[in-house]
């Protein structure tokens, strides 16, 4: 979907071409990242403080997003929640994608028994439904933040592995791999500098997609009471806590859901409108 809206000169030097949708999506993501970083400094009320005698209060000057089921300020809780939703999801997706891609490339290049061993093991892991796997692990080791990150990355590693392996297998059949192999190169070099540069683009797009799935799974786990535990709360937990307010449209449940949707939609749009590297320089 290329819609050429950019002027000639500017993007020439940058070597990349952005389009409007991609830029605005990136803007929203950076906004949330900023919020996650500086949350403690910018929240109007402390997260645990009960500021409203009533509960599920409407939006007001003092409480921008109204109050939650206990009468606490939902706006501050969303800002602090950003830390957990973004933090946990980002950590989990980077671990999952890093290990998935590394294993995928190794399997593609090494081939033989190593490939089938890895594929079988990760395929088995893939067959256990993610939420139930999360349930068993959380029940076993409790749902501390590191345990959650570990669980989420284990759930999504097989997917990243399958994707990366498929890409790497294609690259592996290329002649430059034959040349490198016959030169006597070892596995690490073959992976790091021959295969990785070629599959980095699609892998990053896949990372974005997995990030969205992890945010949703984290909210799902929180909904089942297995995700982030009080006093901390990620957006999924906020929605769960205040789900009671949904029938009368309490902002306390609507805004966290909008926060989740805004993050996931902007990541999706960014993936579909990634800036494309320009190889047009030969024309100058």
């Amino acid at each position: 979907m290329t819609n050429p809206t950019s002027s000639g000169r500017l993007n020439m030097r940058l070597g990349y071409r952005f389009n409007l949708v991609g830029v605005s999506a990136l803007g929203i993501i950076l906004l949330w990242a900023g919020v996650a970083l500086f949350a403690p400094q910018i929240i109007p009320h402390s997260v645990g403080e009960i500021v409203d005698a009533d509960y599920f209060g409407p939006m007001s000057r003092d409480l921008w997003f109204g109050s939650d089921y206990l009468g606490r300020d939902i706006f501050s809780r969303i800002l602090m929640g950003a830390r957990y939703t973004l933090g946990i999801s980002l950590a989990a997706v980077s671990i999952a994608c890093f290990s998935g891609v590394a294993l995928g490339m190794t399997a593609a290049v090494a081939g033989g028994w190593c490939d089938s061993l890895l594929s079988r093991f990760l395929d088995a892991l893939n067959s256990i439904p993610s939420k139930l796997f999360g349930l068993v692990v959380v029940a076993a080791v409790g749902s501390s933040i590191p345990a959650l990150i570990a669980t989420l990355s284990v759930i999504y590693t097989p997917g990243a592995y399958r994707f990366a392996r498929a890409l790497a297998v294609n690259v592996n059949t290329m002649d430059f791999m034959v040349v490198a192999r016959i030169r006597g190169e070892r596995l690490p070099y073959l992976i790091a500098s021959e295969i990785l540069p070629n599959i980095l683009g699609p892998v990053l797009a896949d990372l974005g997609l997995r990030f969205v799935f992890i945010v949703l799974l984290l909210s799902g786990l929180s909904f089942l009471g297995l995700g982030v535990q009080p006093p901390y709360a990620d957006w999924g937990a906020l929605v769960r806590e205040n789900i009671g307010g949904l029938p009368f449209g309490a902002p306390a449940v609507i805004f966290p859901s909008l926060a989740i949707a805004s993050l996931t939609i902007s990541v999706n749009l960014l993936i579909d409108n990634l800036p494309r590297r320009i190889r047009d320089r030969s024309a100058e």
Binding site: E49, L70, V138, G225, P230, G244, P247
Partner: protein, 534 residues
């Protein structure tokens, strides 16, 4: 914290709206309660409300109700019953020797009479003409078998501790039996009204068929799913009003409420106070509130740091803002407690004993004396102990204001009772209602009791406990129990901020539901007494 009652204009509107809809006086009371207006004599609420409902029962209809929890561990074996779901099913398929009416006085059910001269050996006469679902005549042997099996480890009975005081059983004739106790206990009739002492046929091992003397015969029972009972035509107390009774659990609270709102079920059990607002303004629905003595308490073990310093315990008692807990954690569905287990629903409740009112300066003074002001103190809470997390949040917020750092550590409900309860230095517990002060005190506060949550030790208390148990003189007993309640409130490390009301939501078509001290849903026996109007 502004102390104005939060009587906002929106509340007035709700009241007018209710009146216009012709809400009965009872609904009115509820609405006012829902909006947190503290009533002076909380204890008598349920008393007045019940008379307004004595209309005439209607026969017929298929009753459908939903409890809050069930699993593959559901059972029809009264001894193993562990959840409200099990109690309701047992009440519908079996009977007990006695049952408690609204005022907590034991009434005769299967038993004709229960007497004893010295409160040690009791003679129980059984009613005539009572048959089990499979046609077998009720006999003394059935009762003896039902009581004796609690002592056998393999049954895994929940009330083994209480049943252990029954040492001797003798069948005098087909419908009379004699039970001798280890030491005298005037409360035996009340004890026998507990759900675990339901009477089953002699020699039963497989309980999945639900063969009892109860108001319903068991048509279908799949653990973790549902049970369906049909009216027992030859029920000795005259058949129940409804034709059939389907009972299952909907763990997700919103799903349970939505099921009630959409008319799929007639009763949704134990609604979290927070969701009561959902039901406001919805016509054709009503709430049934029972303050039956369930409470969630903050236990400070006095044999471990920091509980071993009495000043710390004192400080904590002042730190707990009981009104705030009742208002925002329990949404007004609870009654302020005075740190002792005997609730207002019980006849022996010592209303004169006032709890320590919320005073952050006194709390700070005691904490400074105890030298714990700067430290971070861990408090364990879990959803397993109802509303404990919300209570912990409130205490944590008030502690923060006086520079006291309480770290609320939430743990999953799975395995809470075996891993954290009774073990962590400061943690929340949750106690279900018990019919008599004697059971409560011997279970929770006797020096050597297994469930002594704060390791409260007092010979004086233990001596009075045994003495009160045996005496048949009501006045003397009441005076002793009052003094014991003061002792517990002052010296024990258990802080009971409030007695939690159990709220059940019902459709307006369901009539005849009355509160009962043994718990929600009319002491879990509602199926027998309620009826459905058109």
């Amino acid at each position: 914290m502004s102390d104005t009652t939060n009587w906002s204009c929106s509340d007035d509107a709700t009241i007018e709206n209710a009146i216009r809809r012709g809400a009965s006086r009872r609904d009115l009371l509820k609405l006012m309660l829902a909006n947190g207006v503290a009533m002076a004599a909380a204890g008598t609420i349920f008393g007045r409300a019940s008379e307004a409902v004595a209309a005439t029962p209607v026969k017929g209809g298929a009753l459908k109700a939903a409890a809050w929890s069930s699993s593959t561990a559901d059972t029809l074996d009264p001894a193993k019953a562990s959840l409200s779901t099990d109690y309701v099913r047992c009440c519908s398929f079996y009977n007990r020797l006695t049952f408690l009416d609204q005022t907590g006085v034991p009434q005769m059910e299967l038993a004709e009479s229960i007497e004893s001269g010295d409160a040690k050996t009791w003679t129980i006469k059984l009613k005539k003409g009572v048959t089990f679902h499979n046609g077998k005549e009720l006999s003394a042997d059935d009762v003896i078998f039902s009581l004796k099996r609690h002592l056998d480890k393999a049954t895994g009975s929940k009330v083994a501790a209480i049943a252990s005081q029954m040492t001797g059983f003798k069948a005098v004739d087909k419908s009379t039996l004699e039970v001798t106790l280890a030491n005298p206990n005037a409360d035996l009739p009340t004890i026998l009204s507990m759900h675990h002492f339901m009477i089953v046929a002699d020699g039963t091992t497989d309980f999945s068929s639900g063969n009892g003397t109860g108001a319903f015969t068991c048509k279908q029972f799949t653990p973790g799913e549902r049970s369906i009972g049909a009216r027992n035509p030859n029920y000795f107390k005259g058949g129940p009003n409804v034709d059939s009774f389907e009972f299952f659990a909907i763990p997700d609270e919103n799903a349970r409420i939505n099921a009630l709102l959409s008319g799929d079920i007639h009763l949704a059990a134990s609604i979290n106070p927070r969701s009561v607002r959902l039901l406001d303004g919805k016509d054709g629905l009503a709430l049934s509130t029972t303050t039956s003595g369930t409470y969630t308490d903050l236990n400070i073990r006095m044999d471990m740091a920091p509980g071993n310093v009495s000043d710390f315990v004192e400080g904590m008692k002042y730190l707990v803002n009981r009104e705030q807990i009742v208002k925002s954690a329990l949404r007004g569905f609870g009654v302020v407690g005075n740190d002792q287990p005997v609730s207002p629903a019980n006849a022996y409740h010592n209303a004169a004993l006032k709890p320590k009112s919320f005073d952050s300066d006194k709390a700070k003074f005691h904490f400074q004396k105890a030298g714990v002001l700067g430290q971070t103190i861990e408090v364990i809470a879990s959803e397993a102990a109802g509303s404990s997390i919300d209570m912990a949040m409130i205490v944590q917020a008030s502690a923060a204001q006086i520079g006291m750092k309480l770290d609320v550590k939430r743990v999953p409900s799975d395995g809470y009772w075996s891993n954290y309860w009774l073990k962590a230095p400061i943690h929340f517990g949750n106690i279900n209602p018990r019919p008599t002060p004697d059971i409560l005190f011997s279970l929770l506060y006797k020096s050597d009791a297994a469930w002594n949550e704060s390791r409260f030790v007092s010979e004086k208390f233990d001596k009075m406990l045994v003495e009160a148990r045996g005496s048949l003189d009501q006045a003397k007993r009441r005076e002793m129990y009052n003094e014991m309640q003061v002792l517990v409130s002052e010296q024990a490390g258990t802080i009971i901020p409030a007695y939690i009301s159990n709220v059940d939501a019902i459709t307006a078509k369901l009539k005849g539901l009355q509160p009962n001290p043994l718990g929600g849903m009319m002491g879990y026996a509602f199926a027998e007494y309620v009826w459905l109007t058109a």
